[in-house]
Symmetry: C2
Subunit: 339 residues, 2 copies
């Protein structure tokens, strides 16, 4: 197999702000893996708040020698090789893992979800994410979210902003919504105040209210909270689930965090059997990675795959979202085409 990879900058159609930062672009890497007449594509995304950096992941990918593997049928062996090369570099490994699964499906002549036995004709709803911004911004996003049945609202450290925003939202829509703090709250007192308020607003779930470093607070919060609390930044790999499953009600699994489809499937198995609710999320990334993730969406209780909607220069076409439902295509492999 032959690997090529190159950096690319995804440009957003507008500013995207969460508790830790606001930005208008995201750095990614694309990989292309060729086997016989087939090409598999993969993507690694690098939001600025992640520890992983693009230049180092690119260097890792350049060091890989995949010519030593005859075919994409050796995903397990290729993971062992990558992990022996170096720990970490999970976005780069994710890109390779997506490309390998894309190849597998293309060779089999099947969409990946069918190949994995995960096909379902039950509609898969995805949420529309609304970042942090002023009231005009929120109104504009609400307008954009019209076709979606469910929302995810980003909140942060400022309790007054949080309350005004949610009250504003509730005055404009009756759609169910969850809330994501991205570790934004300062302490458990703020967290419990927010949980009490959000519960009165009928919120579906709360995601990562506190920094991952405040671990003990999560145990206390989970006990106090009438609303399920999902961990996102607290969970990267399967080992984190083993360590932390009692601290949360649910887990947000993202291909970019854990290393792609192989690892997301593994984490979903472990988390489900440890009693966690499963959310499938994404970073700001193009239709390449988002569509790959959609192939395993039927395993999850909550799906939040809208990371590509803000991208103005998406080099791929994949899933379309129609009335808030992921509309799968019948393309072989991961379900995307390079434009």
């Amino acid at each position: 197999m032959k690997l090529t990879c190159y950096p690319f900058d995804l440009l957003f159609s507008e500013v995207f702000a969460v508790s830790s930062n606001a930005r208008t672009s995201t750095e990614v890497i694309y990989v292309e893996l060729t086997y016989k007449n087939f090409t598999g594509y993969g993507e690694a995304s690098f939001p600025p708040y992640m520890k992983e950096k693009r230049n180092l992941n690119l260097a890792f990918l350049k060091k890989l020698d995949l010519t030593r593997f005859e075919s994409p049928f050796e995903i397990k062996n290729i993971w062992e090789y990558m992990d022996q090369m170096s720990a970490g570099y999970l976005p780069a490994k994710c890109a390779i893992d997506i490309a390998l699964h894309d190849l597998l499906g293309k060779i089999a002549g099947l969409p990946l979800n069918k190949q994995l036995g995960l096909y379902s004709n039950k509609p898969i709803e995805t949420t529309f994410t609304i970042g942090i911004g002023n009231s005009e911004f929120i109104e504009r996003q609400l307008h954009k979210s019209a076709p979606f049945k469910k929302l995810k609202i980003k909140l942060g450290a400022d309790l007054i902003y949080n309350k005004i925003t949610i009250e504003h939202l509730k005055s404009k829509t009756t759609k169910p919504f969850g809330v994501d703090f991205n570790q934004g709250l300062a302490n458990k007192e703020d967290a419990i105040e927010m949980i009490t308020f959000l519960n009165s607003m009928g919120v579906l779930y709360i995601e990562q209210p506190l920094p991952e470093s405040l671990l003990d607070n999560f145990l206390w919060l989970k006990d106090q909270s009438p609303i399920p609390i999902f961990g996102d930044e607290s969970f990267q790999t399967a080992a984190d689930i083993i360590r932390l499953h009692t601290y949360f009600d649910g887990i947000n699994i993202k291909l970019m965090k854990c290393g792609g489809i192989s690892k997301a499937l593994e984490m979903a198995s472990i988390a489900k059997n440890l009693g966690l609710k499963l959310m499938l999320g994404c970073m700001a990334e193009s239709s390449c990675a988002v569509t790959a993730a959609s192939q395993i969406a039927s395993l999850f209780d909550e799906v939040d795959l809208d990371g590509n909607l803000i991208v103005a220069n998406d080099p791929f076409t994949g899933i379309q979202i129609i009335d808030g439902i992921i509309s799968a295509n019948e393309l072989n492999g991961c379900g995307f085409v390079k434009n």
Copy 2:
């Protein structure tokens, strides 16, 4: 999809004895699932020491209405349907799961291991199992085991038999071997005596020395034993791994116990991430189920897939074992053909 199923009795070429029973046959059920021009095959096996009974599993299979599923691409949905129909019946569900995976591979035109990314050109060694018997029997089995590189010796409650047998074995062969008590020892004192003796004999691992009911003893034994202790009868499903993983060093996963390939993959993920060593085992069963299991063998540290070797009237042809190495074929699906 259309399901047919029928009972069959596997007859052994000689008596097979373990700590709890001796027998010359095993009851099985075969299932056949048709989708378009493809037929997928599966098997459920019922060794007498298992709680599951053939007549009840056959009744469960007869109740299933798989015509409600359009294709074998819905393995996840079919599992939900089967589990809603009734808990348990894992051999029956295993047979369906094998047949579904056989169909998936046949449709994709790929051996299942390739389709799952588990292909490896690293040779997979399997052990030859020697049941309980007198010294002539042991000699005869040793002769039969000549092509194998590794042995698994069944022992039982009788400490004198155990010692004589192992000393006899050691005088005849230098091959590495593990020992399986099938819950045969009476108490932890006997267990520690056996472990001390077996350690002096260089045994690789000890499997299920005590009944699963003596749970606390396993924690103590694991702490005392210089030899890794694998659980078999103690583990049936993923929930057992969550509950018991600290009590053992390893787990023996069998398709028949857990419900087939879907469940074995899930259990392997969970067990590995909880630090357990992985053994892939089988019941006395035909080349249908044994060959299906071999498709995922590359995930395991120890492989013990010789359940078909004792069967005199095997209705399937699948893996061949050459010099103790599983010789994979290039057949699509699970890798067997009905004779």
